[in-house]
């Protein structure tokens, strides 16, 4: 795989359900970022990992949002007790190091009913 992959591509959840979104970064990329993109808006930063360490989670909108990257590769963004305002596209990006350009995956479109 040459690029960042994300799964699922689409997710429909009932309000109150928990969801887990997966990101597979480019092999060898140390840095991994999650962004939230609401309809008609630009992406907004959620959180940043360097290897397995979560160095910045200042953008997570509430304590219902949780991200992990236990082995420094694949990352999962978990949203507990989903609300309608969580409906958005969730984008993952990775870079070789913190000094390098971020490359984005196709995103997961989450719809909470």
């Amino acid at each position: 795989g040459a690029g960042v992959s994300q799964s699922p591509r689409y997710k429909v959840a009932k309000r109150g359900q928990d969801v887990a979104l997966r990101c597979d970064p480019i092999s060898g990329h140390v840095s991994l970022f999650w962004y939230q993109q609401a309809l008609g808006q630009g992406p907004e930063f959620l959180t940043y990992f360097q290897n397995e360490a979560q160095l910045d989670k200042s953008g997570l909108p509430s304590d219902r949002f949780f991200a992990e990257r236990p082995e420094g590769s694949v990352s999962t963004l978990k949203i507990q007790r989903t609300q309608q305002e969580d409906s958005a596209v969730y984008l993952c990006a990775s870079s070789f190091s913190r000094e390098e350009t971020q490359y984005f995956g196709p995103g997961t479109r989450l719809l909470v009913l």
Partner: protein, 115 residues
């Protein structure tokens, strides 16, 4: 905190005509600037980036952008657009080279190409 303004929500250009998309940023130090393009259902693709040096930056697909510190601008240009350029364009600013602290994006400009 940094911010990015893209004043034009929509722009319509005839195929073959020139294009300029505006981007203004706010940041206290030297910014690291990016333009990304997003096609429907696709992720963000990097068009070009400015870290330092020459203020006129060349990118992919025939795009270029010019960093003007005095105007806090980083406008994107293309001399002749193609129908395949129709997409959403995002300007972004980073506070570390490559944006390790997370990029701050503008709201985007939707480009429509008329035949």
């Amino acid at each position: 905190a940094q911010s990015v303004t893209q004043p034009d929500i929509h722009i319509t250009v005839s195929e073959g005509a020139s294009l300029e998309l505006r981007c203004n940023y706010s940041y206290g130090a030297t910014p690291y600037l990016f333009w990304y393009v997003q096609s429907p259902g696709q992720g963000l693709q990097l068009l070009l980036k400015y870290f330092s040096g020459d203020t006129l930056v060349q990118g992919i697909k025939g795009f270029e952008a010019e960093f003007k510190r005095s105007q806090s601008s980083f406008n994107l240009r293309k001399p002749s657009v193609h129908w395949s350029d129709a997409a959403e364009y995002f300007c972004a600013v980073g506070t570390a080279q490559g944006g390790a602290d997370g990029l701050t994006f503008g709201k985007g400009t939707h480009l429509i190409i008329q035949p």
